[in-house]
């Protein structure tokens, strides 16, 4: 039995057992499974260093060390939801480069991997459903048109909610400006992200259109919009990459897929089923290198 199959069996078993317990106090995760999955991204190690093993990581849940399994990343298909800004400021080279970057990203996915496409201006559109068959996404990429406002929050909400969460999805959000037309505000989105079971990576392009009257022309790296998006990504274990020219968009996307291929996937069943936010700490036992993973998870009360 592969590690993946073991994990799936565990997920199914715990779901089934939860269903047989009538108590209203049985805690489950937003994911409706009792295993916590952590994508761990390791950096700063020599290029030819051997793969890390369980003993190389230290994982704490609310300060308590946890024992966990390492699931080979190559056994876990990627379920990628591409969420693309198509507001007015994306017109021209930026959208062309984004399209090319996305095509290259899809090309690098394996036959078992899935991809979906969501676009947003002031309206969010689910253009291609999650599927191993990538043609629908490719065709939809060709149809992207830039106009209107920026509903990044609503789009991210949709990308987290719609695929369901029995498997961890990878959400790749591309945006070039501040949200200005979402129904959901930052606070609502932050709460929802904490309760989701997705990994979020954000590629943020600086908006540098010369003659627009809408949206900021330049956002400093520390601007509140960038800060928010960075925090949302980091709480899930992902990261925000800023690109300062359309030519760098493809490299940012390539970086994400390479990071996914090289990541470590930790899975454990928490011993403390306290409902609410659980703070996670992930470290490398030795000093060489750095590791980044989700900073916590939310346990619901059912």
């Amino acid at each position: 039995m592969t590690a993946l199959a073991r994990a799936l069996t565990l997920c199914l078993a715990t779901t089934a057992s939860a269903q047989t317990v009538p108590s209203a106090q049985v805690p489950i995760f937003a994911a409706h499974v009792e295993s916590v999955v952590i994508d761990a991204f390791v950096s700063g190690r020599p290029p030819n260093a051997p793969r890390l093993e369980v003993r190389d990581f230290v994982l704490k849940d609310d300060g308590v060390s946890q024992s966990f399994d390492l699931i080979p990343a190559e056994e876990l298909p990627i379920r990628a939801v591409l969420v693309f800004d198509t507001s007015g400021s994306m017109k021209g080279a930026k959208l062309d480069r984004l399209r090319a970057a996305a095509e290259s990203f899809v090309e690098k996915l394996g036959p078992q991997d899935e991809v979906a496409l969501v676009s947003f201006s002031e309206e969010v559109a689910w253009l291609a459903p999650l599927s191993r068959e990538k043609t629908s996404t490719r065709v939809s990429l060709l149809r992207l048109r830039a106009a209107g406002g920026t509903s990044a929050h609503d789009a991210l909400f949709a990308a987290l909610l719609i695929p369901g969460s029995s498997f961890r999805t990878l959400v790749v959000l591309f945006t070039d400006g501040e949200d200005n037309s979402s129904w959901l505000d930052e606070k609502q989105l932050r709460k929802f992200v904490q309760r989701s079971n997705s990994l979020i990576h954000v590629v943020s392009a600086r908006s540098d259109e010369a003659a627009t009257g809408f949206g900021p022309r330049y956002r400093a790296p520390g601007s509140s919009h960038v800060k928010t998006m960075r925090e949302l990504a980091e709480v899930t274990g992902g990261a925000l990459v800023e690109v300062d020219s359309p030519a760098r968009i493809e490299a940012a996307f390539t970086g994400i897929i390479e990071a996914m291929r090289g990541r470590y996937v930790l899975r454990y069943d928490p011993e403390n089923p306290r409902p609410g936010w659980h703070r996670l700490e992930l470290q490398l036992r030795s000093g060489a290198g750095k590791v980044r993973g989700r900073t916590g998870y939310w346990m619901e009360t059912r």
Partner: protein, 342 residues
């Protein structure tokens, strides 16, 4: 002696380029395209000469038509800018825009001129807002209030511009009115002033449901939950169409934030059914359902709404709430043009 001096002044005054006043007359007569084309090649010097002639006290001219003609010529420039930049406007004021504004001073001196200036300012404010040039929109509304300080529509326009400006915090790089950052008040100040303007509009016209809706929303955002609920509940009873949709949406948010999820969900559902294919109401509903723990229902609501995206042709009332509709300003200009023929 006085008459002689006036005659001398007329002789010495630089005159408008040949054909200028006939173009203005053409515009007043309804041939707008020909008139706009006729003034297309005017230089800044030509415009300055025409303005001097128009301002001469002893040479009454059809100034309202001239104002509208230059404003329309200016809008042609902005329309091209919008189409050429992916829907994003350039908020600078061109020579014809400046000319239209400069002509307002002598126009105000003519009989009924102040009322025309107020109506023109209102049209400009609504138009500039639909271009997302919120500072310009605010400028025009405040200018209009100097001519008519009891016009509810102008208080409403000032509040609309202020609410959008305070919400987006836009700072156009091109020289929109008041684009200098040092002169730009903080967002919070702009929003507070917008609230005051809505209240003033309602004090002058209590049945102005759009002002009530917006005041309620802003009160909700400012943490004045009771006042917000009262105004929005009243708006729900008075409004129809897109305004009713928005009133239900905003009332739902106030209730959701107060912890009354069931009532919020009821209003979101009503909003979602009140308008054809609205997305904001469905996002609101889906989110509220997740707070209730019903992710399955939330997913179903959102999936259905997203699958319909694009079918409305961009007619989401929640989006137009902030940016206005291009038709708002155009309707106001049409009323002014109709007035030229009377």
């Amino acid at each position: 002696m006085g008459m002689q001096l006036a005659a001398l002044a007329l002789i010495l005054m630089p005159s408008a380029p040949a054909g200028y006043w006939s173009a203005v007359a053409e515009y007043a007569g309804g041939d707008r395209a020909a008139a706009v084309k006729a003034i297309d090649a005017m230089t800044r010097a030509d415009l300055a000469a025409a303005l001097k002639e128009a301002s001469a006290p002893f040479a009454p001219r059809p100034l309202r038509a001239a104002v509208l003609l230059h404003a329309e010529r200016e809008r042609t420039d902005r329309r091209e800018a919008v189409e050429g930049s992916g829907g994003q406007p350039d908020c600078f004021v061109g020579p014809h825009g400046s000319m239209a504004e400069a002509l307002l001073e002598p126009t105000a001196e003519q009989p009924g001129g102040r009322a025309f200036v107020a109506d023109f300012a209102l049209a400009q404010s609504l138009h500039q807002r639909s271009l997302l040039c919120f500072k310009n929109a605010l400028y025009w509304a405040e200018l209009g209030l100097k001519s008519d300080s009891k016009a509810p529509a102008l208080y409403l326009a000032a509040a609309l511009a202020g609410e959008s400006l305070g919400t987006f915090g836009i700072e156009p790089t091109s020289a929109g009115r008041g684009a200098i950052s040092a002169q730009t008040p903080r967002r919070g100040t702009v929003l507070e002033r917008a609230q005051d303007r809505y209240e003033k509009a309602l004090s002058l016209e209590p049945g102005l449901v759009v002002a009530r809706l917006r005041l309620g929303r802003m009160q909700g955002n400012a943490g004045k939950a009771d006042a917000a609920r009262k105004n929005l509940a009243l708006a729900v009873t008075q409004a129809e169409g897109p305004v009713l949709y928005l009133a239900r949406l905003f009332l739902g948010r106030v209730l959701e934030e107060a912890g009354d999820l069931d009532s919020a969900i009821r209003h979101y559902r009503d909003a979602a059914q009140a308008e054809e294919l609205p997305q904001a109401a469905n996002v609101a509903l889906a989110h509220a359902l997740t707070l209730k723990g019903d992710r399955g229902a939330a997913r179903e609501v959102l999936e259905t709404a997203l699958a319909r995206a694009g079918r409305r042709g961009g007619e989401e009332p929640y989006w137009f709430y902030f940016v206005g509709s291009p038709t708002d300003g155009e309707a106001a200009f049409e009323r002014l043009r109709a007035g030229l023929k009377k």
